[in-house]
Symmetry: D2
Subunit: 359 residues, 4 copies
Amino acid sequence: MAGNSFGTLLKLSTFGESHGMAIGGVLDGVPPGILLDMEAIQRDLDRRKPGQSALVTQRKEPDQVQLFSGIFEGKTTGTPIGFAIFNTNQKSQDYTHIADSYRPSHADYVYDQKYGFRDFRGGGRSSARETAARVVAGALAKQIIPSIQIQAYVSQVGNVCLDKSYLELDLTQTETNDVRCPDPKKAAEMESLIKSIKKEGDTIGGVIDCVIQGVPVGLGEPVFDKLHARLGSAMLSINAVKGFEYGSGFHGVTMKGSAHNDAYQTDGSTVTNHSGGVQGGISNGMDIYFRVAFKPVATLIQAYTTINKSGEVIETHGKGRHDPCVVPRAVPIVEAMAALVMADFSLIRKAQLNRTHEF
Amino acid sequence: MAGNSFGTLLKLSTFGESHGMAIGGVLDGVPPGILLDMEAIQRDLDRRKPGQSALVTQRKEPDQVQLFSGIFEGKTTGTPIGFAIFNTNQKSQDYTHIADSYRPSHADYVYDQKYGFRDFRGGGRSSARETAARVVAGALAKQIIPSIQIQAYVSQVGNVCLDKSYLELDLTQTETNDVRCPDPKKAAEMESLIKSIKKEGDTIGGVIDCVIQGVPVGLGEPVFDKLHARLGSAMLSINAVKGFEYGSGFHGVTMKGSAHNDAYQTDGSTVTNHSGGVQGGISNGMDIYFRVAFKPVATLIQAYTTINKSGEVIETHGKGRHDPCVVPRAVPIVEAMAALVMADFSLIRKAQLNRTHEF
Amino acid sequence: MAGNSFGTLLKLSTFGESHGMAIGGVLDGVPPGILLDMEAIQRDLDRRKPGQSALVTQRKEPDQVQLFSGIFEGKTTGTPIGFAIFNTNQKSQDYTHIADSYRPSHADYVYDQKYGFRDFRGGGRSSARETAARVVAGALAKQIIPSIQIQAYVSQVGNVCLDKSYLELDLTQTETNDVRCPDPKKAAEMESLIKSIKKEGDTIGGVIDCVIQGVPVGLGEPVFDKLHARLGSAMLSINAVKGFEYGSGFHGVTMKGSAHNDAYQTDGSTVTNHSGGVQGGISNGMDIYFRVAFKPVATLIQAYTTINKSGEVIETHGKGRHDPCVVPRAVPIVEAMAALVMADFSLIRKAQLNRTHEF
Amino acid sequence: MAGNSFGTLLKLSTFGESHGMAIGGVLDGVPPGILLDMEAIQRDLDRRKPGQSALVTQRKEPDQVQLFSGIFEGKTTGTPIGFAIFNTNQKSQDYTHIADSYRPSHADYVYDQKYGFRDFRGGGRSSARETAARVVAGALAKQIIPSIQIQAYVSQVGNVCLDKSYLELDLTQTETNDVRCPDPKKAAEMESLIKSIKKEGDTIGGVIDCVIQGVPVGLGEPVFDKLHARLGSAMLSINAVKGFEYGSGFHGVTMKGSAHNDAYQTDGSTVTNHSGGVQGGISNGMDIYFRVAFKPVATLIQAYTTINKSGEVIETHGKGRHDPCVVPRAVPIVEAMAALVMADFSLIRKAQLNRTHEF
């Protein structure tokens, strides 16, 4: 396997399986001298952790992170930050029934084909537990760019979706309910949908919207590393994600250019923001916003049919503790990946800032 | 600027401005011994080039590529292939009117902010002319993986969209019409829509679908370099792209897991393919398919209002030769970027193929 | 800071300070299915660890590695291997005297200048303790390429140097003495030199030779990633290294081409091996051999003069437990870095092996 | 093949064979707004080009570079600079005699083994002609860091070597003679040695010293990307290089720490400079100096014995126009690679410069 690293000047490398000893990583490129808010890191981890509400899996994982290096007297030193979350509450026996069979729409089959065998306990490396390392790194990245605000929220669960843009919502309400939807009425509808789906032993998909504010002009690199291409890549790398759109997105294709173009105001800001804060791959100082589609969780508690390693059809059903809908817990993951992208481009931007060649 | 390279073992680095001397690049990592089909490369370039139909810009660019290296007696040698397309028909005077003003929803403003000044002729590096280099590299990449078929087509222009999946379409019809839509009736509707939009001096968006067939199991790397994350990043890096979804995409979020999961057949294939050929970031042997949203072209021929460098409001209109809709010419670009991703992962896969550690 | 990653398909990212909580890393790209010899890893760590003989520092660090991930039922899974060595015997009080002063020829001054402050305990990230993570990764890398043998040994301490090439030595004798010199007589001379230097509170430099055997033809990439360039970079990245030469090295410059050229035998092997097993940056199947120069350790126990942060001259002397000569403990580090390079190129080679383009 | 790219924020990708259509590359990451001195680029190319004196090969290659992109109104735009030198004077017939045989100590054999066949004309990609692209990029890199001076010179040819350090030499004399040695007397000896070697149809090796002055404190990254490790890698990637040492180098191993350590002066500078301007992998503001060993050129005009593809012994001799000693022409190549390293680290340094996390 390769592909366990992310970023250019701010580079995250992660490791860990769901039921291994630990999940963790190395974050290289954090600038020196940042007085770390350790509680903010744990707070983001707690937003992601299982067992936090009736809507999510009832696994109890304390998810306490240990930072091994790169910090001295409370401040970052500029050296890499190694970290790990030790696994404490794994129930591997819940998974022995899948050791020889392939759960539909899971990574079980392709891992066996690619690697010859797999660590089947809890999905091994393909488990969404891997994202805990991303949340730690993202929480650190947020502290590199304190003037940039990144806020994600659930905008859709199944067919229940917000009919307002982020500009009409009060995003301070996001964390007031278990779904993480800033509209309390819609949140209640989503919550009741998830509960009824859970009762069926079934699952449901959803959408997370993310808004990034306070972005200076000039982040992002034209051509292959466009700001939105890196954001898209970051989001699509999160488990269960099926789609990404920014600004006007898929809806924008139906518009005429005369309606879609964002007219400039005299200060360089724009009247509308169909561009979603990015033009030619570079931030233009307006709000960046994008949407991320998550499929329904593949693991069902209800009975289903599948095949085993010998290609025989078997009947089985999910055991263990699984989420009926992934989006409430995925909100901090979306923010974390966004923070890693924005902090990396901020560092790259600094390398370019002196336009003259005087060093 | 950075970000002008793409890929890991198959690495493309490009250069070139719209009205500079040449557009080109270096493709490193092409395996040795491939007998190149030079006409296939030119054919893809011709599909992208302006002036090929009444639907697209009437600029005449011969777009003839020269391969400088990496080929001996018709075969690739394993050394990097340098190439260039010399610019021959640039009318830079068409652009002097924008030297001091910012076209709405273009990269003009952010380039000036990021770099301090810009090559305004034809949009410089931000011009879609840059994609000609991608098409050359993609046409080479296709020849690295001859058993994988990549076919893109236009599925939507404005509100005119296909109501059939690729399985119900005859993709051999794609190149029979100027829109590059495999459904002749819909193609005619799209064509007439584009023509009427053009008459208004306006532009319109569209969607390109892409299908990849003949993919072996095991391409793609879990975690950050998931196959669909790299495909998404590749597509989002193309000019004017606003969104990417694969398999069930944004529609899948409304489904229950019991309906969305792809049941296995005894040979490891699946009955449905909501996964879009990718599970856990790794190809599962089923068809890969995805959709790419393109916004309406920003350059309008009709009059519009904008600001100049001094922040003054000015009234102007587009000059020169511009596309009213980008998708017909973007079909080979989508294919090219897909080919670069698939060929790169194929090479990485070969490095992993011996599961035992005997070398 | 950046630069804490090494490798392309086999990628090591490390973290850790001398007196922090732990030293460790992530090794990504290990092929699946390797039955790991855990004792071999610990054995290499023990060869590097302090306190193993009278010649080296008397610090007692158990240096026991924990592998966190990437292993299932004793075999590698193909997922990244996270690991750490927890620090247990740090005496940070030995370093408070240098918190405000700069030890000559150490990294103290440049760290303060570059990062604004530093973790002064034990040298922080600049400590050679960082190399423990390299040894773990190198011991894993050796197991990826079992048919390639990598053997390093001490060939020079101060002015005492071997007058034989590796072909005239019995390399099985290397580990029989504390200096790690395969010639017992020279080893004794070196040992006595180190002891007398130590008595003076002074230090001395040395040279490590390394031989790599069983290398197939074709490893290494022409141009910037020549096999010897990557080996050189790997060696020069080890603390205290001042020079690298391979094959005929610096001596070769005095030779005529007619004497230096290695004549081919009919099987493609060569009569002489001034090339050191590498031609045009690519292994030619002959033994690879190179030499690495280490400067005398900078930390002196004897009194010396230096400056403090305020630029005032102070008189001081080294405290704590330091090596009088670094080369005996650096032998496994040289081997480890060589193993990382050879395993990485072996994986890259596999990606290229099918010369035809059939996948 | 891979490995044709070099650098992180300043990234060079090259292409080209000795007797192909062109040699060239793409230099990505050049900051915008640099008013380019085009003559300085050509001047460095002229220093490398063949036929410039009686000491070097009499091939006539005008080596005129064309810059394709990244420049507007004489200034860099921040976009990648594509460039090529078209080959005009290739005499491929000089090489047909080696199409089926392997020149000793050349890359012929390993290329055939690695790639299955090779472009034998002039050595193809393994020819030192490849370095012309490095010289172009290096000349551009020098203009990114005008306050840093990079001066290389020949310090040894065969057994004739300078007995003075760079501090005792007048480096303005380097270009006054054909050998590029700043000591006129030694230069004359070297010149006469090369001429007599040439008369024998033989070749001889040499050493190039390089001094880098005006370097700010703080360039280079600890651990794997130490400043001297990147310089060493850069030098070892040049054709015919066998060794690299910096500061006290191999000689330093014989010194005691008490003599080797560089005592600080109150301003942070050091009395001696055995460190060679680098401590812990980071520049300390003192002069950087290093030495690069070049083997004797492998191509002999005199008769020699070798094997052909069928493994049969054949007698042959060199044809064409070859250098009897590579070092006079390699001086600008050493400078170019040094400039690429220093400019890349300068850009990385800028990303780190604000020690506080305010952006």
